[in-house]
Symmetry: C2
Subunit: 207 residues, 2 copies
DNA sequence: GTAGAATATGAGCGATGACTCGCATTTGGT
DNA sequence: ACCAAATGCGAGTCATCGCTCATATTCTAC
């Protein structure tokens, strides 16, 4: 079975009006995901919410999956921007200061759009082109590993890869769980305590 | 809108033949989830795979969600059994020995049925009665916290709740990620190194 | 101003899936 | 042996969903 040769695999870039259409569709998808959940996010509903016809939707996206993927992408861009900036800032700072900052940033990153983040992690079946939702964690891990390498003299661990994996995984999980499931308990004081302790956890291990 | 008053909310226990039917249905659901994924797990398909008619399916389960919930429950029972046993075994042991054991057990627990665990965490939309998929982590957390309380003299932390949260979250995440995404790299040697280092991470922090 | 390309529209098709209901079969008690 | 309850059956209903296509509108360039 060959691909449908009739209608071109719809994609096309935009010439202006269409840009707005595409944006509206992505935005609508994100809105529905947050307010109604993944199950309610049908293509018809997305088009309707975006104020666009289904026909137009399919002119720019091959299907629902692509819409959701676009939303995920957008969110990841925002998150990774924060993470990259933080790691650049911290590149020349000593271990403890750096780790403290990174922990704080991890929490901040999860706070960018917690509701969307939650839907993305809890309701999106990681299938097809959505399998790689966690792939961006790999980039964060690589960046962190790189920092450790630059500061090898400050760290006392046998295996850098393993250490980076442990620390990055721990930090991500703590930030994730705290923001998504303990946001109510997360006052400013609690936030500070959490950062303090998570920093101790990681720094104590690294040296 | 009241509940449908006509047909009783189907549930009923069993009288023997039906027990087998129910088991077959749960087993079929698990099998399909693992081999085909959540999307393919339609009620019709489940019934067919179980060698049972759809009518019978709906006699014991109000819907697809309930089937999946049953599978999740079964899996959680197995996992929690392992965790509970380990924590009992470890109750009177000193910190380092205890933590080492718990780390190893966390990994083992994730290895009980990795494929199912993966589908459960990645493909099941946490919605409706499936929202609480992570709820059992709370029990594990409580058990661990309890251990720490019994060994308060061995631990040097200001806030026990916070410490338990950090350690339990970190251990779970490390075990989860290692088993699900690094299983290929997880030779016996790597396993030992992982346990060593994770233990150092946690113990170093706690005292 | 006009042609043709780009963009937008939405009724409707085909597929699938959750679920019902009337009826058949089995079981256990007597 | 018999019957009422329990269990099992599966064709068929209804709703929804993803997606197409023939047509209409708008834009751009000349």
């Amino acid at each position: 079975m060959a691909r449908s040769p009739l209608t071109e695999p719809r994609k096309h870039a935009a010439q202006k009006r269409s840009r707005a259409t595409v944006d509206a569709l992505i935005e609508a998808t994100a809105r529905i995901l947050v307010t109604e959940g993944f199950e309610k996010a049908s293509t018809n509903r997305i088009a309707e919410t975006a104020g666009v016809s289904i026909g137009s939707l399919y002119q720019y996206f091959p299907g629902k999956e692509a819409l959701v993927a676009a939303v995920i992408d957008r969110h990841h861009q925002e998150v990774m921007q924060v993470v990259r900036t933080a790691l650049a800032e911290v590149a020349s700072q000593p271990l403890e200061k750096a780790v403290r900052k990174l922990v704080a940033v991890a929490i901040e990153a999860h706070r960018i759009d917690p509701k969307l983040h939650r839907v993305l992690t809890e309701q999106i079946p990681r299938t097809g082109r959505l399998e790689n939702v966690e792939a961006f964690n790999r980039e964060a891990l690589a960046l962190f590993r790189n920092y450790l390498e630059q500061h090898r003299d400050e760290v006392r661990v046998a295996d850098l890869d393993l250490a980076a994996f442990l620390c990055a995984t721990a930090i991500e999980a703590v930030a994730h769980t705290a923001v998504l499931y303990r946001s109510d308990e997360l006052t400013d004081a609690a936030f500070a305590a959490l950062v303090d302790e998570a920093t101790r956890l990681v720094v104590g291990y690294l040296k």
